[in-house]
Amino acid sequence: MTAIVVEELVKRYGGFTAVAGVSFTAAPGEVTALLGPNGAGKTTTIEILEGFQDPSEGTVRVLGADPRAGGRAGRSWRARIGLVLQSTSLDAQLTVTEALTLFGGLYPERQRIGEVLDAIDMADDARTRIGALSGGQRRRVDLGIAIIGQPEMLFLDEPTTGLDPEARRRLWAVIENLTAGGTTVLLTTHYLDEAQRLARRVIVLADGRVAADASPDKLRAMGGAPVIRYRLPAGAPDLPAGLAGHVADGELTLPSADVTADLALLTGWARDNHVDLTGLEVGPPSLEDAYLALTSEGALNHG
């Protein structure tokens, strides 16, 4: 069974169309990342999938059910999903254990508190009140609450925004463990390295439409020509005319239609000037390059 089915989803607020005919599916047990600039329709789409908003048009099914179903059927569906909202929203007066126990009591099948504390790496702070935790720790408690009911489907709306690099990596590890256990994840993020690391599939939204839907590697390949990257050493002589125009902030970033010819030019310059080429990279465009190419104004106008 497909975990998520979205068909021709449209959401209007008065005269403004936030989502304009989005369609995609998500396979069970996979991480699917929803990317896009602010206002692209990511949060509206995920809120419709979570059952917080009604679509204006189109069909949405999550785990085979309509997210807006009410009554016991709706409660039963909610017991199968977990959510991390865009901002942390927990009572500061509760301790970590109290919060997990409280939310865990609502689910038919729940993980043991100790297991969740270990999973989110919060065992040492189990008796600490949430109000006394750092932003990263609160985010992990949020994730702990989202997973305590052993959800089949997990929605993560910008889960690592505002976290320091170490906290982000710890959260990534938790998400990777969950997906290894078969949980389906729909992730929205502004961090392309996060999508590259976690997602098997990336859906790029722009102006309320799907601009791309592919694996991270395929998306990188869609970004255009291979790129030669090289950080110039301090005091390096000027590059040849064909390369010099592609230097910004001391780094050469050259989209190359003829890699062999461009590398010959670069290596010739390095040999003549006795410059060390350590750090030279040749590869497909980064996910960021591809993303920017897909969401740039020109690309959208031509799409």
């Binding site: 409660r75 199968r80 901002s87 409280l102 609502l106």
Partner: protein, 138 residues
């Protein structure tokens, strides 16, 4: 897929919410201040004035004062748990967090109402006991 019948029933849902709301209220100093300490302090001030009135009139006045302060305490607790903290919970996204779980909306509000009634009752009982004890001693 979990069957709906395996969801926790009425008693555990309300019991859990009642414990949760009581924990929040007891860890929020303004609830104790407005529900118990303020009415208690006002009662203490009234007791000094009642002392200088004749026996029968003093009993009537004391009963009226205690009743009035019990109402004040109950209103304060109700205001803090519903009019004030409910808005804060909504603004902080806490209501949305609950909405994302299998908790029915009535379960959340039943817990809030039950906790407010319980705390207001305990505060009222304390005020009445103080009034009765003071009356017995004078």
């Amino acid at each position: 897929m979990d069957d709906a019948s395996t969801l926790p029933g009425l008693v555990p849902v309300i019991g859990g919410q009642l414990r949760y709301q009581l924990t929040l209220l007891m860890r929020t100093p303004r609830t104790l201040m407005a529900g118990l300490i303020l009415p208690g302090a006002l009662l203490a001030l009234q007791l000094g004035r009642v002392q200088h009135i004749g026996q029968g009139a003093a009993a009537d006045l004391l009963a009226a004062r205690v009743a009035g302060l019990v109402v004040l305490g109950a209103m304060s607790v109700a205001y803090l748990t519903h009019a004030s903290s409910l808005i804060v919970a909504r603004e902080d996204g806490i209501l949305r967090r609950w909405r994302a779980t299998p908790l029915p909306a009535w379960g959340y509000f039943a817990g809030r109402i039950a906790a407010a009634v319980l705390i207001a009752d305990v505060a009222a009982l304390i005020l009445v006991l103080v009034g009765v004890a003071w009356r017995a001693c004078t």
